[in-house]
Point group: C2
Chain length 254, copies 2
Amino acid sequence: MPTEPPDPATGRPAGHRTPSEPRPGRSAGSIRARVRAEMVDEIKATARRHLATDGANLSLRAVARDMGMVSSALYRYFASRDDLLTALIIDAYNDCGAAAEAADAGVADRADLAGRWLAVCHGVRHWALAHPAEYALVFGSPVPGYSAPQDTVAAAARTPAALIGVLADGHARGALADPGCDDVDPALRTDLARIRALIAPALPEALLADGALGWTQLFGAVSFELFGQLNNGVDARDAYFDHQMRRITGLLGL
Amino acid sequence: MPTEPPDPATGRPAGHRTPSEPRPGRSAGSIRARVRAEMVDEIKATARRHLATDGANLSLRAVARDMGMVSSALYRYFASRDDLLTALIIDAYNDCGAAAEAADAGVADRADLAGRWLAVCHGVRHWALAHPAEYALVFGSPVPGYSAPQDTVAAAARTPAALIGVLADGHARGALADPGCDDVDPALRTDLARIRALIAPALPEALLADGALGWTQLFGAVSFELFGQLNNGVDARDAYFDHQMRRITGLLGL
DNA sequence: ACGCGGACGAGAACACTGATCTCGACCGGA
DNA sequence: TCCGGTCGAGATCAGTGTTCTCGTCCGCGT
């Protein structure tokens, strides 16, 4: 007699049933739930440690071995290797976003828009250099079969939101002129309008587009540096990055 | 008695010996060499086909199976899976660079610097959208243990050289003002000077740095689009990309 | 307080993978 | 012609993700 009922979603017998909250509705503060959460955290921690050396092809078995367990035991906590990677991706998005937000918050003079923008840029780069494997996991080539679930989008938006926030604040202070784009594709205008409604309702579309430009430039620069595209070319990484970010700052009118 | 001598480089017996020109000095046009080259091409072609579906984790065995061979036979032509990937990477670099050069060459009015720059940008993006797996292989997160051999740098330089070439040509025509950077880090100046000597000796350093900025922006935008960072955000991909590239064109003074 | 059901982890199994080694067979070049 | 080197097949090894089964054990609801 099977101890677990057939999965209502798929219909098949489901030996182990998809985990992550094994029973949907239960007292959240129960002992079981707490040790389970601790176990999940420990798995993610050791997986992150392996990520630093093995990159995106980390081995479930190695992680389990490192914890004195057997690989199949991990399936109690993550439905698959991709599920574990997804959890790490979400954490990395949040870490990166938190670093960006903290960098902005660290600037005392809130009116120094260029200083705040540069602080966010350097904060992101600093986080990326400190966690290259997690950065690569998030901003590198996606795993072939893998499609980012909806859970990631909220976490993914934090860093661009921090950047746009600087522009929005500057605009609110009246310190930022609208560059004014007359000939913008209408389809792009609807995209910008939708994003604006979510992030910064008062920001002119042209400034939002410029923010996206800076966002792209920031991660393009960090990716080039971390992914080896600057090897055999640029050695003064700090100065190179700073120069590029300052140039963009000028373009943005900060 | 072993038919093949011990590898002089490593000293170990070397069962199969590292391939790629099995015997260094031989008549280059021999029949054996020709069929071997055709075989290498066929392997790369089927590997590229698999790359499109399986991404970076393509399977040697699957490639061999697809060719009616056995996996061990592939080791006659590539020392390892990484070696095959390296060959694909070099090809991809060259393809991308060729696309960039062709796009520039396709602009009739050589004095239309902005048009040429935008043509190169769109050419690169077009190539990337047509070959997403190869793009990811080259510009995505590098394989953990993998370190790009020196062979790749020449091929890797073609695309940025095409971009810088537009600026250098514009400068030679006197159509490009030197933005003039006074406060540039001396270490970065030496980097720029070294690159300038290789690519465009007459180009002012500030313009070279701006070219690198545009180069970064171009691949940042393409990577964001291909790696899914624009999902759930921007739908008008063409207009978005074009807008960003035009904005950079303005910054560059084209 | 107690007993039961469900969560847990071990272990075996399956279908894969990259890599190595051995061994015939073949055939281009001298 | 004939021989040596190249080739491809097959077996093998270590390692992987995933699934399934089966005891055990303990927190939870009664």
